[in-house]
Point group: C2
């Protein structure tokens, strides 16, 4: 089995994935009898190329990291822009990892739609398209016989979507409660440990998990986009991040945390989804929870998602201290899902 | 697609599953295009029967619950014993839910092996065969082209084995830490709340989770059997419950709990597995853990399993307040896995 791969976006996550693929090539070849070749990479600042003879991913990563242009690579053909790459290459699997556009999920949604319509299987780590256009993209994938995978969009490579799809057959998700944003949880638990809001935010920046403008995290937008993505996939909600009733942690003070702490409580930014008579209601807000509970004990950058189900009661999935490697693993996991599906169809 | 079902053991779990199957028949038929008929049931105290024309599972459950004999059911043919049922019926899927024999996993292992050799797919909720004979049974299943599923053997229907198999492709499990025994956790957290060991044990008996002789739980045998099952399946350990270095909670005193509590710690009965140079080391022992942690916060009958992985860091799965329904769901989940696998092979 041979796959031609294309990369749309080649930032930290895609490059960590390239490294992981190189290391695990022998194991994947042994387990699945699969080989691959990268035939296209599109970036915003380092050029867009195709190369039917194949691109060395580690060489491409090195080029980007030293600030070069991908057109310098041997055999590379320059292409005008990302859409031209998608329409001009013959990929089997396309990895979309462009940055999130929180206002409408574009242009990533268009990239993915175009790729699916060309019959490419698509893997994305970008939550925008799932939060804004999941139902449409899923329908395109089905119509075009393409696989569409997006495990990395919520809780990195921790298997959230795959867990429900593969391991909870027949189960209906009635609701969820999650601590899904690492920056705000690092700030809140930092304040519990006696640091100020600003000191904790600086730590998040040092760790590389918060942008210099962290409003998107602090005001709950990131959690709202993830809540919408979860609701769309797990509860067929057909919703949108702007449907989420949203409050951030900007107004949480050390005194609030201390007061909660004296009552053995903690403040956590919770993303909640719940089935209602009309559909699904979604909220993101700081809430007081028991410190000694599965939600309250989540420290630092760790995440948790609690699922309420009809047949299996409540279960929760924890992810400890996620980093780039865990998001890169999401892409690997999705690639393996596609390999398995393609084998099944043959 | 049509399946003939056989039940070996027809206790609380199997009867709860029968109820769940009856309720979800329309949904399963819609989703998978599958129908089924029960053609055999074997019990220790309520007779063994076959009935090619089909047994009404709810009628069978009612018969057992009022202390009747299954041979009273319309169309039932009496069979001498359980093995005779397995060798004389033409089942597609066999559900094995006989009680655990903690000394060697028999006779369940023989029942399962015989069924696999007849080409039946097998679902078991009995951890003995997985802890004592997994490698052999798995090899038989592969040789005979049969599916062998056992999600209910550890943490009820919470997807432990399926999570690793389906959702963590390419990942190696380096170790695990679990709170896997509900009775001992109910006792320990009861003691934290000010009750005595005996009072808490009585509560476990009232809830129906502890036997009148609870030594098997208290001395860590149940957790050891589960640790061996996890190591055999997730880490290919080829191990045995007697290989587990085991200590129970019999000697834990209220003073120990109070002393831990003053240091913001909790005592939990931890089952641990870890890869070593020679294989896998397994322990079950009460340990002090931080109260405010994913392990320490597990209260009452709830369970948790933390997995250490090479590619995905640490993740943990929680199951809240499991009951019979969750174990019954394990059988449903395994049945769905078999349906999917059979569809894939066609």
């Amino acid at each position: 089995m041979h796959f031609q791969l294309a990369f749309i976006g080649f930032g930290n996550v895609a490059r960590a994935f390239a490294q992981m693929m190189a290391e695990h090539q022998p194991a994947l070849e042994l387990e699945y009898g699969v080989r691959w070749r990268t035939i296209a990479i599109a970036t915003a600042n380092h050029g867009c190329i195709t190369s039917p003879a194949g691109i060395d991913l580690l060489q491409a990563a090195e080029c980007v990291e030293r600030g070069g242009n991908l057109t310098e690579l041997p055999g590379a053909r320059a292409v005008s822009d990302t859409l031209a790459v998608i329409t001009n290459c013959d990929a089997d699997v396309l990895f979309e990892t462009t940055p999130l556009n929180p206002s409408d999920g574009q242009p990533a949604t268009t990239y993915i739609r175009t790729a699916l319509e060309r019959g490419f299987h698509v893997v994305t780590a970008n939550k925008g398209p799932i939060a804004f256009a999941y139902a449409d993209l899923k329908a395109r994938a089905v119509d075009c016989g393409a696989c569409f995978r997006f495990e990395g969009t919520v809780m990195d490579g921790a298997p959230v979507f795959n867990l429900v799809e593969s391991c909870l057959p027949g189960v209906q998700i009635l609701g969820f409660t999650g601590v899904l944003n690492s920056t705000t949880n690092l700030i809140l638990t930092g304040m519990e440990a006696g640091r100020s809001f600003e000191e904790s935010l600086d730590e998040a920046r040092r760790l590389g998990i918060a942008e210099s403008n962290a409003d998107f995290d602090i005001d709950g937008w990131d959690a709202a986009v993830k809540a919408a993505a979860l609701a769309n996939v797990l509860m067929n909600a057909g919703t949108h991040p702007s449907d989420v009733i949203r409050d951030g942690i900007r107004n949480i003070k050390v005194e609030d945390i201390d007061e909660a702490s004296r009552a053995s409580m903690a403040i956590r930014l919770l993303a909640r989804g719940r089935r209602t008579r009309d559909g699904v209601s979604l909220t993101v807000a700081p809430e007081r929870v028991e410190l000694n509970s599965a939600i309250g004990c989540v420290q630092g950058t760790s995440n948790v998602l609690l699922l309420e189900t009809d047949l299996m009661g409540d279960i929760a999935l924890y992810e400890y201290h996620p980093g780039i490697k865990q998001t890169a693993y999401a892409l690997l996991s999705d690639f393996c899902s596609i390999i398995r599906e393609v084998k099944k169809r043959r």
